[in-house]
């Protein structure tokens, strides 16, 4: 499993771990990692084990945000490596997501 998601016992926090590639090959896996969860939960996308991402990963994150309610969605992207952080900054994702 390259994408794993787990909810806290009260269902209010969902953590999604992404290992290795985060690109279009993961589309359906990534989508099902959040679709089945409580929409109002706080979502954390943990990229500590992510080795590479591309623009389709950005698209997938935006789709997730839209699905979870757009501006009201609570999504933070955590444990980004310096390179991945730079990609988010260039794409101005830091305005739409909390990135650390």
């Amino acid at each position: 499993m390259t994408i794993e998601s787990r909810a806290s016992s009260d269902g209010r926090k969902v953590t999604i771990d992404i290992r290795g590639r985060f690109d279009f090959s993961q589309i359906s896996q990534f989508r099902s990692s959040y679709e089945s969860k409580n929409k109002d939960a706080e979502f954390v996308v943990d990229l500590r084990q992510t080795e590479h991402i591309d623009s389709s990963a950005l698209g997938m994150l935006l789709n997730m945000r839209t699905f979870l309610g757009g501006d009201t969605a609570q999504i933070s992207i955590v444990n980004c490596s310096p390179g991945i952080k730079k990609i988010f900054e260039i794409s101005r994702f830091d305005k739409k997501f909390s990135i650390s």
Partner: protein, 555 residues
């Protein structure tokens, strides 16, 4: 036994020798005290029969000299005396061990020798056991020294100057069963561990070696708290005897100190504090480490949001279970009271309060305090500035490599894997490899999708179009009969280091319409504009279906 007989009267001496040899003893003889001293030095007999009155040196003086020369070792001396003066007999016992009044009654002499033989044997046994004990003690001591060295070396790498995180660990004995570990992350976040092995002393502390090593390795690999505790549990389950386990809390806090992820197994409640009030207690929800098998083990963690006024306090039961002379315990109430009344660091106030409660510490005692106001410090670019120049000095050669993909290779699940593997070996690429990988992936996919497969992105804007697009792509790739993509990578040997990526394909090649990044919510159309934003140079040549991009490295 070997017996030394010191007697100046020859008849009496002969008689004694005869009698004692009859009993099976070996005899040495001396005619006066001085001679007795010399013979004693040479032969070291087991027992001495010493006449009181002798020429040259009397028995009393000789006996004292012998006792002084051999302190610690018991040499029974029986005085033979014709004296019947009570005071002198008493005086003889100050130096000697017994006396026998002349004329000698040989039955009594034999009995006395037997009695002294028993004492002597007992004495020698004690002496030997003492020697063994002494040897054992020094061996244990040197083993302790060695173990302590190992533990100290194992824990040396503990980070101590992580902003906003203070820790303390006091051992009740030479070795501590408590363990506090801290490891800062390159991004300014930090991992911590606080724990308490069952028991105290050496046996309890020995478990800290594998825990410390594993914690270090895993935190350097940037693993999640859940993965770390699962591994620690497996190690301890294997390592510890059945009766032993490790109560611990393991956590990871981010650089901004507004998010903490923790796993708590068996320690007393930790506290989330705001100002001087306990906002909530963080309860242990798991069994301690080292008990459950991997299939039963629960690694789920708790995530808390924090603000700048928060502090967190973690501690071992050495704090709450510290009891005073009246048998009262410091207790959770004690901890809360200190939190409410402390000024400055809670940690200092807590230690002071515990020592005032009971200065004679019975248990190991550890605390961690996290002050959220103090943010972590990321290992920033300052370091990299120093690294810009050495590349020219060590004379790295320029490198170029060309990759070609035909339909068979294009159909594989990750055609770029080999490119990434090759590039991540290069020291100039490594620091921001994800950025480089993204540029390569965008240019490659652009060539595959729009060049070789002739796909249009329009479909992505439809409902569910994103997935439709990639399904379609997959189908076209499966059916692809011919077509190719070529990529040439060149890393320069001059400053500033750069990577040139040239991609060409067999297809039509489309010139992208808009290369400016827009702040839209569209899930697509971001790839090439991002490449443009990253690269120093980006040039499309639609005529020969060729694109060239130059990325500055070490930027």
């Amino acid at each position: 036994m070997e017996i030394l007989i010191a007697e100046d009267e020859e008849f009496c001496r002969q008689l004694l020798v005869m009698e004692l040899e009859d009993f099976g003893h070996v005899c040495h003889v001396a005619e006066n005290g001085a001679q007795a001293l010399e013979i004693w030095r040479d032969t070291k007999p087991d027992l001495i029969l010493m006449d009181m009155l002798m020429p040259v040196m009397d028995g009393y003086t000789a006996a004292r000299a012998i006792k002084e020369e051999q302190p610690g070792e018991h040499v029974p001396i029986i005085f033979l005396t014709a004296l019947s003066d009570e005071e002198e007999l008493v005086q003889s016992l100050e130096v000697g061990d017994d006396f026998l009044v002349k004329p000698i009654n040989f039955n009594i002499l034999r009995a006395k020798i037997q009695a002294h033989e028993r004492t002597l044997n007992l004495n020698r046994q004690v002496l030997m056991q003492n020697k063994e004990l002494e040897y054992f003690r020094s061996r244990v001591h040197s083993e302790y020294d060695m173990t302590r060295h190992l533990m100290e070396a194992a824990q040396k790498a503990n980070a101590t100057d992580v902003p906003g995180i203070d820790m303390h660990c006091t051992a009740a004995s030479f070795f501590s069963g408590d363990l506090v570990l801290l490891q800062d992350k390159w991004d300014g976040g930090a991992y911590f561990l606080i724990g308490d092995f069952t028991g105290h002393g050496l046996t309890a502390s020995i478990g800290s070696i594998p825990v410390t090593q594993a914690f270090r390795t895993m935190s350097r690999r940037n693993l999640s708290v859940g993965e770390i505790v699962r591994e620690l549990n497996q190690i301890l389950k294997r390592f510890l005897p059945g009766s032993m386990f490790f109560c611990a809390t393991v956590g990871e806090i981010n650089q901004a100190r507004n998010r903490i992820e923790i796993w708590c197994g068996g320690l007393p409640d930790a506290f989330l504090i705001e100002g001087n009030e306990v906002r909530r207690s963080i309860k242990s929800t798991h069994m301690p480490l080292g008990i459950m098998g991997d299939d039963e083990f629960e690694a789920d963690t708790e995530i808390l949001s924090l603000n700048g006024d928060n502090r967190l306090l973690f501690y071992t039961d050495g704090v709450t279970e510290c009891s005073n002379a009246d048998g009262e315990m410091f207790g959770e109430e004690g901890v809360i009271s200190v939190v409410q009344h402390s000024q400055g660091r809670i940690l200092d106030a807590m230690l002071q309060a515990v020592y005032e409660f009971n200065s004679d510490l019975q248990d190991d005692l550890s605390l961690i305090e996290i002050t959220c106001m103090e943010k972590g410090i990321a290992a920033d670019d300052g370091e990299e500035v120093d690294n810009i120049n050495p590349l020219v000095d060590i004379g790295l050669p320029s490198v170029s490599l060309e990759f070609s993909w035909w339909p068979t290779q294009l159909r594989t699940s990750d055609p770029l894997m080999i490119v990434r593997q090759w590039l991540s070996q290069h020291m100039a690429i490594r620091p921001e490899k994800e950025v480089v990988f993204m540029v390569i992936a965008e240019l490659f996919n652009n060539a595959v999708d729009h060049g070789v497969l002739n796909l249009f992105s329009d479909v992505k804007s439809e409902e569910g179009g994103f997935e439709k697009y990639y399904k379609n792509r997959q189908r076209l790739l499966q059916d692809l009969k011919d077509g190719w993509v070529r990529m040439e990578l060149t890393i320069s040997s001059q400053l500033p280091m750069s990577l040139c990526v040239e991609v060409s394909d067999s297809g039509q090649g489309i010139s992208p319409l808009n290369l400016d990044l827009e702040d839209s919510d569209d899930a697509f159309g971001r790839g090439l504009p991002m490449v443009k934003a990253i690269c120093r140079e980006l040039k499309f040549n639609t005529g020969d279906h060729h694109v060239r991009a130059v990325i500055d490295l070490n930027s």
